[in-house]
């Protein structure tokens, strides 16, 4: 049996030491009428050779990013991952350890997590980051819950159609059994109109949740939106693209109270949607309301600097039903990868990646919009993604043509936005070359 060291001789010796005759005796606690009376109906066992052949065949039925040219975005992106990220995350001392409950035995994980927390604080311009949540969408939901508890306002939460539809769906699920009304502002011009926001926030509004750049790739007027939220006494929660922060103003500089993000872009594989990395950072006054693990610095009994899980009285294993969240296992290894990525990129690298995304997306948008039958949907500054509309109603034909040429041209918006049924969300990362963009334009003519 794979991975099981006990031989029949071992088993015999152990049964004797325990004082029973057979393995069956060890299950006496399970009443016979509750026992499974047959073998589980799962496929027969495979050794490594067959399993490898089997998985290779299954992998061959997929088309990964390396075999196609991907312009897919919408919260997950084909970004460059330096080899050092896989290398560090492949150290099994990191990936086969668990939550660092015994600090003396876990300084590797604890120090790396403290470094991750610092890097995220530096990237976002916020005071404190936690050690991770599940993904950007659930992080946004947890941030909203933080705001509801911190402001003691449960009447209303205001968000917008320009926030990722799946983030808003998750938020609605998390709020399903609250009395809180979820208001979604329309964004027919591609961004939130500040006056519309001002009319929607009241003294029962816990927070305003915006995304910047938003789901359409457009830049929101975050400075003004934040001021409107604060004037009404509401908290300002911003969902960001971490890659954009190599170039754009950091949320800490424009008044965000809580920042959330999807960290997949920071050195993590696309992996058909997960595991991903929920980033959450906030200003100092809200630290004790944060969900998730926090690593803090201290000294040991000999005065040596070291790190420990801290402020654990927020968490479920101590506070149980009064905890700030139920989260236990988080996304530790993904946070490690993000830390390595950010440290490898450094300030210059992050700036260059962001500029490449900005310039290449702009180039793609201009070239596509110049094609007959295609136009940009929104007249707004964009970062890394943009929306084009097929004015001749021929979006599907274009997508099929691109696919036949080995190109994923973009994400059609019809499934979330009926009013944008002929529209396509196109993402251009630093990995896309001019030649690839030109070929995209040729194929979707």
């Amino acid at each position: 049996m794979p991975y099981i060291p006990n031989t029949p001789a071992d088993q015999e010796a152990m049964l004797q030491a325990i004082g029973v005759r057979s393995l069956e005796d060890l299950f006496a606690m399970v009443p016979p009428e509750l026992r499974l009376q047959r073998e589980p109906a799962v496929p027969p066992a495979m050794g490594e050779l067959e399993l490898t052949a089997h998985m290779t065949e299954l992998a061959g039925r997929n088309v990964p990013a390396g075999q196609a040219v991907s312009f897919l975005g919408g919260g997950a992106y084909d970004h460059f991952i330096p080899a050092i990220v896989d290398f560090v995350a492949g150290r099994s001392e990191f990936y086969t350890a668990y939550t660092p409950y015994q600090p003396e035995a876990s300084q590797g994980t604890l120090q790396a997590t403290f470094e991750y927390q610092t890097l995220i604080a530096q990237l976002t311009g916020m005071d404190v980051s936690n050690a991770s949540l599940y993904d950007g969408a659930s992080a946004a939901a947890e941030a909203v819950l933080m705001a509801i508890h911190a402001t003691k306002r449960s009447g209303r939460v205001v968000t917008a159609a320009s926030v990722h539809p799946e983030y808003r769906q998750v938020l609605a699920t998390y709020l399903a059994n609250f009395e809180t009304g979820l208001v979604t502002l329309p964004t027919s011009q591609g961004t939130i109109d500040p006056e519309t926001l001002a009319a929607a926030v009241n003294d029962q509004t816990a927070c305003v949740l915006v995304q910047h750049p938003n789901f359409f790739g457009c830049l929101e007027d975050v400075q003004e939106l934040g001021e409107i939220a604060h004037r009404a006494g509401a908290m300002f929660v911003v969902a960001v693209d971490p890659i954009s922060l190599g170039l754009l103003k950091r949320p800490g500089q424009y008044g965000a109270d809580i920042v959330v993000a999807e960290g997949q872009s920071l050195g993590n594989a696309m992996a058909f949607g997960g595991p991903y990395l929920g980033i959450l950072a906030c200003r100092e006054p809200f630290v004790r309301r944060m969900p998730g693990r926090l690593v803090g610095q201290t000294v040991d009994r000999r005065g040596k600097r070291c790190w420990v899980l801290t402020l654990q009285t927020r968490e479920q294993h101590i506070r149980r039903e009064k905890a700030t969240s139920n989260i236990c296992t988080n996304q530790g290894l993904l946070a490690l990868r993000a830390a390595v990525y950010l440290a490898a990129m450094g300030p210059q690298g992050m700036r260059v990646v962001a500029e490449l995304c900005l310039q290449k997306a702009r180039y793609a948008m201009e070239r596509l919009s110049a094609q007959p039958g295609l136009e940009p949907s929104f007249d707004r500054p964009v970062f890394k993604e943009f929306v084009v509309r097929a004015t001749d109603g021929q979006l599907d034909r274009r997508l099929d043509a691109a696919l036949r040429n080995g190109i994923f041209a973009g994400v059609p918006l019809a499934r979330w936005y009926p009013e944008l049924a002929d529209c396509l969300l196109v993402a251009v990362t630093e990995k896309r070359t001019k030649a690839q963009i030109d070929r995209l334009v040729e194929t979707v003519k």
């Binding site: 050092i84 001392e93 015994q102 149980r320 310039q359």
Partner: protein, 487 residues
């Protein structure tokens, strides 16, 4: 060997002008930033990240990794965490570009391989659970608990019943009441009796028309299989409630018994425990849930379905609670689950449970001679012993014992949980450990109980760090580096 670079932080190793990654020059015609961004949108300077070269980073992180105990380096008997061996072939297979480099919004025709894997995982988990409907969406066990409780809330709302209470044993893992609170239920605690099982009389007194769900871990956190479960399930069902099984301890009953057969209506699995997914230093995990047929309509969307034309994602579930996360689920973790289950096969599942239970009972038979075993000689895949007598006689606590275990080269078991046992050590060896390792552990623990209390109060002695000041950590709350010089 002193590893200086590990003890320093990245920010202390930073040197202006150093850089690890070089990217290609921009090959498209470039516009000026002022044309592309509104005034005030750009930051005045890049983020203040550290500047390091690749050799700097490698030395730093490799040395850091050596400061961890891990399942690959040490016996790691954390109770209810199931720190079993993580098969390397599964890492390699899940990491293949054909699985790793797939975008969640690709056309389904280009995803038939991964959809086939996820569909099979749905089927296999349904079979192991004994419950027909599965959602792979939740990202961790606690997330699965919350999802199932939201399903229960939606179900009761749909059938027009006002049920507001979730009943949870006092020995339960903290995520249980925390998840109930997130789903906006009130929680009620039921006592554990002297035998370590649910106090059925206490439960009877607490069940009423407001009861929505009774949450149980079985085997429980004491490592005991509660044989009353069929009776308990009947009582809960008679009161109109649902039974939720916390599947963290499934390693004890794989191929032996199925939650759906012994009365559970809903459950979650922890693939990063039971199904050999690596723990990652705190994730990623996954929390797939399985529910009985009439609760299926409320599960999150999408699920993978099989049509004559192939596999696709199905969103047609009008009564669904919606989404609990973006995209599909923790696919990378579930691909490893698939590899593991295909490796075990039907007989392998049972062998896992048999050997997990054998190893735990054997270790208990060794430890009971010098530590208090409050619940007798038999257990399932884990057990709880107590240092209460040591504390009374010699002032040695559970914490002292496990800190000294680190010096002997063993990761500590879980301590001070479950809350109902004083000076508790919760020990789960798993099936991937040998008798020799268990003997060495038992011998070490025995020797430790005979060592001078002062030696133990200050343990560990052999590691770089000993007894961090956790009070100061909480009081000062230094949660990010802000330019302090290295100590």
């Amino acid at each position: 060997m002193r590893h200086r670079q590990a003890a320093q932080l990245l920010f202390e190793l930073s040197h202006p002008g150093r850089r690890a990654v070089q990217l290609p020059a921009c090959d498209v015609p470039q516009r000026r930033l002022e044309e592309l961004l509104p005034p005030g949108a750009a930051a005045e300077a890049p983020p203040p990240l550290p500047e390091l070269t690749e050799p700097d980073l490698v030395r730093h992180f490799v040395n850091l990794s050596t400061q961890n105990m891990s399942a690959d380096t040490h016996f790691y008997p954390l109770g209810s965490c199931t720190m079993k061996y993580n098969p390397k072939r599964n890492e390699r297979l899940a990491g293949m570009p054909g699985f790793a480099d797939l975008h969640p919004y690709q056309p389904e025709a280009t995803l038939q391989g991964v959809l086939a894997v996820l569909y099979e995982v749905q089927e296999m988990l349904a079979e192991i659970a004994g419950l027909p409907a599965v959602s792979l969406q939740p990202a961790a066990g606690a997330h699965g608990e919350m999802t199932a409780l939201l399903v229960a809330a939606a179900y009761f709302r749909d059938v027009g019943q006002q049920r507001t209470t979730v009943i949870i044993p006092d020995a339960a893992h903290g995520t249980n009441p925390a998840s109930a609170a997130m789903a906006r239920f009130t929680t009620l605690e039921v006592k554990t009796c002297g035998k370590g099982l649910v106090d059925v009389k206490d439960l009877a007194g607490k069940l009423d028309a407001r009861t929505a769900v009774f949450m149980i871990t079985n085997p429980n956190t004491l490592g005991l299989f509660d044989g009353q479960i069929a009776t308990i399930a009947r009582m809960v069902h008679d009161a109109g409630g649902l039974v939720y099984l916390d599947g963290a301890n499934m390693n004890a009953i794989l191929g032996i018994a199925r939650p759906g057969d012994f009365g559970a209506d809903m459950m979650h699995f922890n693939p990063h425990k039971t199904f050999s997914g690596p723990h990652g230093g705190g994730g990623p995990g996954a929390g797939p849930v399985a529910v009985r047929g009439d609760l299926a309509p409320y599960l999150p969307v999408p699920a993978v379905v099989k049509d004559p034309s192939g596999f696709r994602l199905d969103y047609d579930r009008p009564k669904s609670i919606g989404r609990v996360r973006s995209f599909f689920g923790n696919t990378g973790v579930l691909v490893r689950t698939y590899c593991y289950l295909r490796t075990l096969g039907p007989q392998g599942l049972r062998r896992v449970a048999e050997n997990a239970v054998l190893n735990a009972n054997y270790l208990l038979s060794r430890l009971k001679h010098f530590l208090v075993a409050p619940y007798g000689d038999r257990c399932t895949h884990e057990f709880v012993v107590s240092a209460s007598r040591l504390k009374a006689d010699r002032g040695v606590t559970a914490m002292d014992l496990v800190k000294r275990l680190l010096d002997y080269g063993f990761h500590a078991p879980t301590v001070y949980f479950p809350l109902i046992v004083r000076e508790a050590l919760m020990i789960e060896p798993t099936e991937t450990e040998s008798k020799a390792t268990l003997d060495a552990f038992a011998q070490a623990l025995f020797r430790i109980t005979e060592e001078p209390p002062d030696l133990l109060h200050d343990a560990p002695h052999a590691l770089r760090i000993s007894r961090p000041d956790e009070v100061q950590a909480a009081r000062k709350a230094v949660l990010a580096w802000k330019g302090n010089a290295e100590r």
